[in-house]
């Protein structure tokens, strides 16, 4: 059976169908989940997609973290299930405390929408299983608040535990230590600002996001095996 990836729709999400389509193109099943439901309906993996959940009011992710679905997402993560936050989804995971740190306004105060080169820095996570460390990928970013910020102690912990999953080759937004994505201690929760689903077909200009999404399907499938 195909791995089922649940994609959470918050009011203001806008990348959910792109993720569903990308998952489908790789042989998985993408299923939309409503933020107001307290259950994930038995999906194998969860993606919190990009967009502007709850209008980004107060701070990006600040209100989304209280959506009923988030307790189920936290339970899924605690049980070792794969959870991926892309862009706004990364912001939600940080606000929810499922990932450390915070996403601040970009240095330079510009909304950035362009391809960036990422370097895979850590393997064995929900997004980088089977990908060689050091691989460089061209994947679009699309954000105003993508400047990763954390306490020095948190940064030291992330570095020591090999939890910085992606770094920008040419830091576009002022992120601490060039961080583009991090993972949880269990390596099953991953957040990143770039959008792998927007690099999942030649028509989109790049297929460099495909290995990441395939890794998600592998880790999702392994759970049900």
């Amino acid at each position: 059976m195909a791995a089922v990836v649940g994609v959470v729709v918050f009011p203001g999400s806008n990348c959910e169908l792109d993720v569903v389509e990308a998952v489908r193109s790789l042989g998985g099943e993408g299923r939309l989940l409503w933020h107001g439901d307290a259950s994930l309906g038995g999906v194998d993996a969860v993606v919190l997609p990009g967009g502007f959940a709850h209008g980004d009011y107060l701070r990006p992710g600040a209100i989304a973290r209280f959506s009923p679905v988030m307790q189920a997402v936290a339970d899924h993560a605690a049980a070792g299930g794969p959870v991926v936050g892309i862009c706004n989804g990364f912001q939600v995971l940080c606000e929810a405390g499922l990932l450390p740190g915070a996403l601040q306004k970009n240095a330079g105060l510009k909304f950035l929408c362009r391809p960036e080169t990422l370097r895979v820095e850590a393997g064995g996570t929900a997004l980088t299983t089977g990908i060689e460390v050091g691989t460089e990928l061209a994947i679009p970013i699309n954000h105003f608040e993508g400047n990763y910020t954390c306490e020095p102690e948190t940064l030291a912990e992330l570095q020591a535990d090999d939890r910085i999953v992606f770094r920008y080759v040419d830091n576009p937004n002022g992120s601490t230590d060039d961080i583009a994505g991090v993972c949880s201690a269990g390596r099953n929760v991953v957040g990143l600002m770039p959008h792998p689903e927007r690099a999942s077909h030649l028509l989109l200009g790049s297929t460099d996001g495909v290995p990441l999404l395939r890794s998600l399907l592998v880790t999702a499938g392994a759970l049900t095996a």
Binding site: Q104, K105, N106, C150
Partner: protein, 88 residues
């Protein structure tokens, strides 16, 4: 009792404030020289019903920790003022 509350949030010391820095750089162009240390934050104003001033403060502090600020990057200062004529 009813209390008027002012919560001001700002980025913690040591956290880069690109908005404040941009405003600071722009001021001399308008002839405002000698301005430094510009910090941009948010202000929240509301009233709250609470038994006394210390319980109002405790409640607002909890609100700041859990919702109004992201403690990773922001600090808050809280001002609580009893509203005249309010009774318990």
């Amino acid at each position: 009792m009813q209390f008027s509350v002012l919560v001001e949030t700002r980025l913690r010391d040591g956290v880069a404030d690109p908005e404040g820095a941009t405003i600071e750089r722009s001021l001399p162009a308008l002839g405002f020289d000698g301005v430094s240390g510009v910090k941009v934050g948010k202000a929240f104003r509301f009233t709250i019903e609470s038994a006394d001033e210390s319980s109002a403060l405790a409640e607002v502090d909890d609100m700041c920790q859990r919702f109004l600020t992201n403690p990773v990057i922001e600090d808050a200062s809280i001002t609580v003022t009893a509203l005249d004529g309010a009774t318990a």
